[in-house]
């Protein structure tokens, strides 16, 4: 019996691997077609999708709400900046591991008081944490560069990749695409890891804790440890995403990760679909190309993009979308597919009611 279960699990793992691999390869192929500007946008989108995935895991699977993931991003980004300052030539993988570790550690520090809290208390506590990052960065100038922040340029495109390009802007094109490819590969690895985590023993325990913590405790789940673990994983993902984000922009300042970024992350997660891999992918894509979309809307409605209204269209649209999604389709875009499927199936039999809708 045990052996059978093990085999079944292996089959699922390999199918997840194939799924994530195909999506990663497809995205890599797309980066060859896209212009350099779109490649840069895609790179940011991939970085953000990692953070959204961590948040999605925390909120969707463990039922804990965090408005502080922009704070964990900032921690990862500063760790990257400080490391890059002193060890510019170290392999990039070290930077990522370091950013994840520092992010996870800060998550642990926050989780210790926070996992005693629930719902709105927790949301407020994490919000306070993310608001504390900027004052800290401004105060400890010698480490963080203060108001001006840190600048670093550590993403070097290898020669073989440069040689693939020719023409006038070969270097710029190659750099933009190399950054995008790197971000996509890192995102692919984290998505594969999370796909497995979703279906692991820990993932199932997490869902039980979310739905009924008393029952979870009765069957032997250690509640504080499970909740803390969820936080630490989400913080590590945010740290990695923040590190990538900082590397792409080659800078980190106290204002890189404002309060509004936490709102944006939440919006992307809810729009995409809470607790799903596809939701995080959709969230990343929306982030990457939202400026194009908003520009399009501005030109359709005849709003001057440099006017006050045009400049704030993105905030207005994101906020309204967040509210409408939560009121009418709390499962987000990723939940629309199954919903449509159910509508079709309903013609034949009565489908069970979904929770939360």
């Amino acid at each position: 019996m045990k052996r059978l279960a093990l085999f079944a699990n292996q089959g699922a793992t390999s199918s997840r691997l194939v799924g994530v691999l195909l999506l990663t390869l497809l995205t890599l192929a797309i980066t060859f077609v896209l212009p350099p500007v779109a490649d840069s946008q895609l790179a940011s989108g991939a970085a953000i999708s990692i953070v959204v995935l961590g948040l999605s895991w925390l909120i969707g699977w463990s039922g804990q709400i965090s408005l502080g993931n922009s704070g964990f991003m900032a921690v990862g980004a500063y760790a990257t900046g400080i490391w890059a300052h002193h060890h510019a030539s170290s392999p990039i993988i070290f930077t990522f591991v370091l950013a994840m570790a520092v992010g996870a550690f800060s998550g642990l520090i926050i989780a210790i008081p926070s996992t005693r809290l629930r719902g709105p208390y927790l949301a407020g506590m994490t919000l306070a944490f993310s608001a504390a990052i900027a004052p800290l960065a401004q105060n400890y100038t010698s480490i963080t560069g203060g108001e001006g922040g840190l600048f670093f340029n550590t993403l070097t495109t290898p020669h073989w990749f440069l040689n693939l390009f020719s023409g006038q802007n070969a270097t710029i094109d190659a750099n933009a695409q190399w950054t995008a490819d790197l971000a996509v590969v890192v995102a692919g690895v984290t998505f594969f890891f999370m796909a497995n985590l979703f279906h692991s023993h820990t993932g199932r325990a997490m869902r039980l804790v979310r739905d009924n913590d008393v029952a979870a405790e009765l069957v032997g789940v250690n509640l504080p440890r499970t909740r803390t673990l969820a936080f630490v994983v989400a913080a590590a993902f945010a740290g990695l995403g923040g590190s990538l984000y900082a590397l792409i922009n080659a800078t980190v300042t106290p204002s890189t990760f404002p309060l509004t970024l936490s709102i944006t992350l939440l919006t992307l997660m809810v729009l995409g679909g809470i607790g799903t891999l596809s939701g995080a992918v959709i969230g990343g894509i929306i982030y990457a190309f939202s400026s194009n979309l908003v520009g399009h809307i501005n030109s359709l409605t005849g709003i001057n993009p440099t006017s006050n209204l045009g400049a704030n269209m993105q905030g207005i649209i994101f906020g309204i979308l967040l509210i409408l999604t939560m009121l009418f389709t709390p499962r987000g875009i990723a939940g629309l597919g199954p919903r449509f499927g159910r509508l079709v199936a309903n013609r034949r039999r009565v489908a069970p009611l979904a929770t939360g809708e």
Partner: protein, 298 residues
């Protein structure tokens, strides 16, 4: 005596309390809706900011400062009722996260709209009360007519809220709807209407805080309530989220903590005062300073 009022420690206490009453008002407004609807409104600060923009910018059209103040509070009342009816009512009985997400979204919309309409430049609202600090026998005392008005206004609002809840028929209905909505409904209380009134009241109290902020030295700008909301939230949690008195005391404590950090440690780190207080309180007394211990229902 005059020496005492001008001592560094009294400087810090006056400045800390002046900031603290703003936090207290925001914390009080959060507690009012938490008690009745169990929603923590992340848009509370932004709603108050928006209402104070609508009211206080009327000063440009020659309206009297005091009328602007009253107008802001009135707009706050309407705004609170509207929010509860349109955005919050569909969410009762849904998971907690839904209300959090919706109020966070509302915060985003309000700040973006405020920036679009009034731009992000700071406006200074001219007050009829002097903001110049008093001198007592040649020594500076960190109190001005405006700061004294600020204290007086906050105390009046707090007493009004306390009196309303304790001594009036409406207050009794509000408390009944919060404590036992089903029983209250059976006894003829219009619970839904009470929830709307609770939100209106809360938004008005928040707006009073926002008008004080707008009239003070920092002025009025679209994100002026962000940090204040966080401090107000911490104050409410420190007080236990169920206790209006706790919220007020929590707000004053955070104001003092920030001021003392600013004076004796670092101006940049002043916003950490509330967080340090929060972590200490959560470690020692997770249910808050002023609540009777109540176990969560399963």
């Amino acid at each position: 005596m005059s020496q005492f009022l001008s001592s560094p420690i009294m400087h810090n206490i006056f400045a800390g309390l002046a900031q603290g009453v703003i936090y207290s008002l925001v914390a009080l407004s959060l507690v009012i809706i938490w008690q009745s609807t169990h929603v923590l409104n992340f848009a509370q600060g932004a709603m108050a900011m928006f209402a104070s923009y609508v009211g206080m910018t009327e000063i440009d059209r020659g309206l009297n400062y005091w009328l602007c103040l009253v107008l802001s509070i009135f707009v706050g009342l309407l705004f609170g009722g509207f929010t509860e009816r349109v955005l919050i009512r569909p969410l009762y009985g849904k998971p907690e996260i839904n209300a959090i997400v919706v109020t966070v979204g509302f915060l985003g919309v309000l700040e973006a709209v405020a920036q679009a309409v009034w731009t992000s430049t700071t406006r200074n609202i001219a007050t009829p009360l002097s903001q110049i600090y008093f001198h007592n026998q040649g020594r500076l005392v960190l109190l001005s007519p405006f700061v004294i008005f600020q204290f007086a206004l906050a105390i009046v609002i707090m007493l009004f809220v306390a009196g309303l809840f304790r001594f009036t028929d409406l207050g009794l209905q509000l408390r009944a709807s919060a404590l036992a909505p089903e029983v209250a409904r059976l006894l003829g209380v219009r619970v839904n209407r009470m929830l709307t009134i609770g939100w209106m009241l809360s938004a008005a109290v928040g707006t009073v805080a926002a008008t004080i902020v707008a009239s003070g030295s920092f002025g009025l700008y679209p994100s002026d309530m962000d940090g204040i909301l966080i401090a107000g939230f911490i104050a409410a949690v420190v007080g236990g989220l169920e206790s209006p008195v706790g919220a007020v005391i929590g707000g004053l404590l955070i104001g003092l903590a920030e001021q003392f950090i600013l004076s004796y440690w670092s101006a940049d780190l002043a916003p950490l005062g509330g967080i340090i207080l929060l972590v200490v309180v959560l470690m020692l007394r997770p249910q808050g300073l002023f609540t009777k211990s109540v176990s969560r229902r399963v």
